[in-house]
């Protein structure tokens, strides 16, 4: 089963001074308020955050429902936006794979892959023995997931008191926090080039294809950054 010591060690990482709990919680407050304005009830709002647990995906679902999109359109739109989770998983799970750990832990805990949890794990995994990294990860995931659910709950009931300017303030928290975390992670030439190229190419590709801009920006920017790093090493 799950090792309690490492689970709680991961869980507690959310209460560190530099944890993403504040930014994450505030963004899900905005999501809770948005879902209420869309006509969701409290059960549906909580259900949505628990099952999806990805901010851009929830936003796309909400926008698609507003314009009356079909289920197939919603699926495709969300899939495009959340396809970034694939490289995030491939760049994280090899760090946690251990032959003594059961497979179900990996299939279950992949639900927690989101920017906040991913960045916390990336900056802490070296301090944890490989065998117990998956338990540590489940702790981080449960903590960030719980924060998102609580944020949605608060946002749903506070929506009547949140005006447009406060909603805008809450919505900028997450991108600013993640931008700072990404800039803070720029410690090698490969990561630095990846971040800078992604920041430049994402918006540029938006002019050609809004749906594909994130994936194309990530794929091309990341590949160029990889070769820059490899050439430098060689």
């Amino acid at each position: 089963m799950i090792n309690k010591e490492f689970f709680f060690k991961g869980f507690k990482s959310i209460i560190k001074p530099d944890s993403p709990a504040l930014a994450l919680g505030c963004c899900f407050i905005a999501i809770g308020a948005l879902l209420k304005n869309l006509g969701f009830n409290i059960q549906e709002s909580i259900f949505s955050t628990m099952l999806t647990y990805a901010l851009p995906g929830s936003l796309v679902m909400a926008e698609s429902m507003l314009v009356g999109a079909s289920l197939l359109n919603i699926f495709l739109a969300v899939w495009f936006v959340n396809a970034r989770l694939y490289p995030m998983a491939v760049s994280l799970f090899p760090l946690m794979m251990h032959k003594n750990q059961p497979r179900w832990k990996y299939y279950f805990s992949c639900h927690f892959i989101a920017v906040s949890a991913w960045l916390i794990m990336k900056s802490n995994y070296k301090d944890i023995q490989k065998k117990y990294r998956i338990d540590f990860w489940i702790g981080i995931g449960c903590a960030t997931w719980a924060t998102a659910v609580i944020g949605t709950f608060i946002g749903f009931y506070a929506s009547d008191y949140l005006d447009k300017n406060i909603m805008m303030g809450l919505a900028i928290l997450n991108p600013v926090y993640f931008l700072c975390m990404m800039v803070g992670a720029m410690k090698t030439i490969q990561i630095s080039a990846s971040v800078i190229l992604g920041l430049l190419l994402g918006p540029i590709f938006y002019f050609f294809s809004p749906e594909w801009s994130i994936l194309l920006g990530g794929l091309i920017g990341g590949t160029i950054a990889y070769f820059i790093g490899e050439l430098r090493v060689n």
Partner: protein, 107 residues
């Protein structure tokens, strides 16, 4: 709960979980010291950076109501705060929300 909303939530969660699960399945044969792992690491950082830039420059939801100038001003100022506060994450994050709300109110 209405059926259409539940179906939309289920479809959204299926679309999201599929990427996560495929990532875990693909991870099985990849060693953390391999070139393939390093490439995927670059892809992940670059994709996240592209997502953040798109969220700020071409936002959806509440953020799209804020002007382009106010969003860019807030982001640049917060990066400045991040560097002068010895890379503290909390100050720029909190300041960003207050600053954008104030700019939107008074500009």
């Amino acid at each position: 709960m209405s059926t259409s909303v539940v179906l939309a939530i289920l479809v959204t969660s299926l679309a999201t979980y599929s990427s996560r699960l495929l990532g875990v399945i693909s991870s099985k044969g990849i060693k953390e010291t391999s070139k393939l792992f390093r490439w995927f690491n670059c892809l992940a950082y670059s994709t996240l950076a592209a997502l953040i830039a798109r969220t700020i420059i071409f936002p959806v939801g509440a953020l799209s109501d804020a002007s382009y100038l106010s969003r860019i001003t807030v982001v640049i100022f917060c990066l400045f705060i991040f560097f002068i506060s010895k890379k503290n994450f909390v100050y720029p994050t909190v300041i960003s929300a207050i600053m954008l709300a104030l700019l939107s109110e008074y500009l």
